[in-house]
Symmetry: C2
Subunit: 434 residues, 2 copies
């Protein structure tokens, strides 16, 4: 167990890490009741099933089990008996629900707690239900053309001012790239954009299509610093409005065209096809359609880059995240990603796994989020605060423990020799005009 | 068509490129007969089916079709009518057979000719027979434990002195790594070994297992320059004898143990698992067994590297190569390679595609081979000379046209954070103690 603690990424302790429990939804009656023998047994069984992680589990009456207070990474307190039952019956979904409602409270570092649990589960081979049953119970929501808009609306149209509270100045909402771990977030996002532009082999005068452009930072970066013309697609109305306004203000609107449209609506042929952080929202059933879009939109010697959250092996998204945070999301394994390339005549040039960079990125986001938590509370209330805290800390834990990966895949058409001779060019200073 | 010519790798013209045809197996009678109308029609149809590559096809009576002599990349002469029929009925197998027998002759640059044909076939979507039928006709030979030895014997035990004629001084018979394309072969093979050692994250004192060690160069390099202890497996008796003798001579036999054994016989647990150029001989049906060997032999925070010839999408090995050169060979696609990693709980850290480096390596080999061709002729005769010339030139063409890929996949266990932060360390000078 000690070995594991050493391996944990150092996560800055968040001073506000366990606020909001005061507004607990637990009924006053149940918190005064002593836990029954079988309830204590359930608590012990739950820890055992998770592979006995070094955490402490406390019931509403103060009784506890698991790691001793001094040794445990953190303590989870279950505020009422119905919370215990719900958790025992459907941990994957209910843990998030109950934490959001304030009925389960984590004292200690939340991300650290979650990473410890992830690692124990992986070691113990814990599986709440077989993937097939989970797939039936928690099938990700459809990403058919009309549904995608709804799914994306739910997450990305919360309001730009909310994201401005805790993202970088350019509003880049994907994994950053830290040439050294100490780099600040602003510079790491610029470094990520350069990394992507270099991998996509951009030359002045090139045309680029971007599928899923967020608030448009990458498209503006490519146009400004690499001298290319960009057509960038996104189905989030709020994001596209923001992106257009910013391009106008920065005098880039002659070189960047933001299209409020789905990747399926991409038209034209381009020197580069770039997509950063969209694939995990596409849904595996739509990969063939995305592949055919890539196929028809890349010139013969063009180059492509897909940057996506992934998995070491196929698995569904956590059902709570799918329900509350990312409707329709499905992070593919690398073999699933390859269904985009192999059947359509693409050649994979390079795959880089940046999962620890995403853990680091999320640490920055969580830290900024906690600094702005009073504003978030005013905007959306305590349950929202807890929901997003859990999502951010849970994502740190997922990337740190390997439950999630971050793959950048560079590709070209089969047989194209317009490819870099080595990858040295990615590591030569200066990397970009900054 | 011109676009294609520009894209061809520049292959040094081989002065001996079309010797040996004098000993043609064509009967004197057939070469004197005029080709019949339907035979000329077959010749034209064949070129059409191949997508009309800019090559010239000449029959035994001097009649020709296809590209005009000045424009064509090269000329193929079919020496007798039965050669034409065989070629038309089973081009994938018979082309090699007939060239080896001297009944089909290529005038001009052989690798260039073959790359041109490959590219035309890919563009035209040429397929002699569906993969399923080919799979039934030309199933690669079995690589069950006993059979592997036979398969490997057929290729690798031809004699060390033969390979010494045209490989580098260290006898490295896998794709080299050229930090710059002009590097000589000796240094490019050293650079490849360093590239592998760095990717495998070797530290002094580490233990390494190598599956399929050839003449043992990489194992000695790791022990000498990276201070590790190596256990290296190979089923080729001649290679193992050579490797042991050389380790003794270089005073490395206390740090390198060469085991005459199959990868399935690997025992022990190691800090690194390395395999360079073996996977393409393993056979896809044996991947689960190799995965379980990797699984049991890697320490929790160990790192692995698999270097293998591959494909952009699943396809059988050319049946002539499988029959005459590499019995049992099957170069997997990347998705097929991933069956080694995903089901067994490995995490893919990095994939690099080095196919153009293999084309370059093979150009060096072919050039050296041609310089030593008189000796090869004395050792094995003219048919062997032509067979190996076609194999080397055909391999240049396959890597240059994208029919074959070269993948280096770096991996660790799921959740291990003992992984490099970026890939910068692969591109810092100096790369190794040389």
């Amino acid at each position: 167990m000690n070995g594991d603690k050493e391996k944990l990424l150092s996560v800055p302790a968040s001073p506000n890490g366990h606020r909001g429990i005061e507004q607990s939804g637990a009924s006053a009656a149940s918190t005064r009741t002593t836990a029954l023998a079988h309830e204590r047994w359930i608590a012990r069984m739950m820890l055992d099933a998770l592979g006995a992680p070094p955490i402490r589990l406390v019931l509403w009456d103060g009784w506890g089990t698991g790691g001793e207070p001094g040794e445990a990474v953190a303590t989870a307190t279950i505020g009422d008996r119905w919370a215990l039952y719900k958790l025992a019956l459907n941990p994957e979904l209910q843990f998030g629900e109950l934490v959001a409602q304030g009925r389960v409270r984590i004292d200690g570092d939340l991300a650290c707690f979650l990473e410890t649990v992830n690692r124990a589960k992986a070691r113990a081979g814990f599986q709440y239900l077989p993937q097939r049953v989970l797939g039936w119970l928690y099938r990700p929501r459809s990403n058919a053309l009309g549904k995608s808009r709804q799914n994306i609306y739910q997450h990305y149209d919360i309001g730009n001012d909310f994201y401005e509270l805790w993202l970088d100045r350019e509003l880049v909402y994907t994994c950053a790239y830290f040439p050294t771990p100490e780099l600040d977030l602003e510079r790491a996002q610029l470094a990520k954009m350069d990394h992507v532009c270099l991998k996509a082999g951009l030359k002045p005068g090139d045309t680029v299509v971007e599928a899923g452009c967020g608030w448009g930072a990458l498209a503006r970066h490519m146009a400004r610093d690499y001298g290319v013309k960009v057509k960038a697609y996104n189905i989030s109305h709020e994001q596209i409005e923001y992106a257009r306004e910013r391009a106008r203000r920065e005098g880039l609107d002659d070189r960047v065209e933001y299209v409020e449209g789905d990747y399926r609506e991409i038209s034209g042929r381009f020197d580069a096809f770039v997509s950063v952080g969209m694939l995990e929202h596409v849904g595996f059933e739509n990969f063939p359609e995305l592949a055919s879009v890539m196929q028809r939109s890349l010139k013969p010697d063009g180059r492509g880059l897909i940057h996506s959250i992934g998995r070491d092996k196929p698995a569904l998204m956590n059902p709570w995240i799918e329900r509350r945070i990312f409707p329709g999301a499905y992070p593919p394994s690398l073999s699933e990603m390859l269904t985009l390339f192999e059947p359509s005549g693409f050649s994979v040039l390079d795959v880089e796994n940046l999962r620890l960079h995403y853990a680091k990125t999320l640490q920055h986001w969580l830290q900024r989020y906690e600094s702005a938590v009073d504003q978030v509370n005013e905007m959306f209330g305590a349950e929202f605060v807890r929901t997003w805290r859990l999502y951010l800390a849970g994502s740190i834990a997922a990337f740190a423990s390997g439950d999630l990966q971050l793959f950048q895949v560079t590709f070209a058409r089969h047989g194209s020799n317009q490819v870099p001779w080595t990858r040295q060019y990615l590591y030569s200073e200066p990397r970009s005009p900054h």
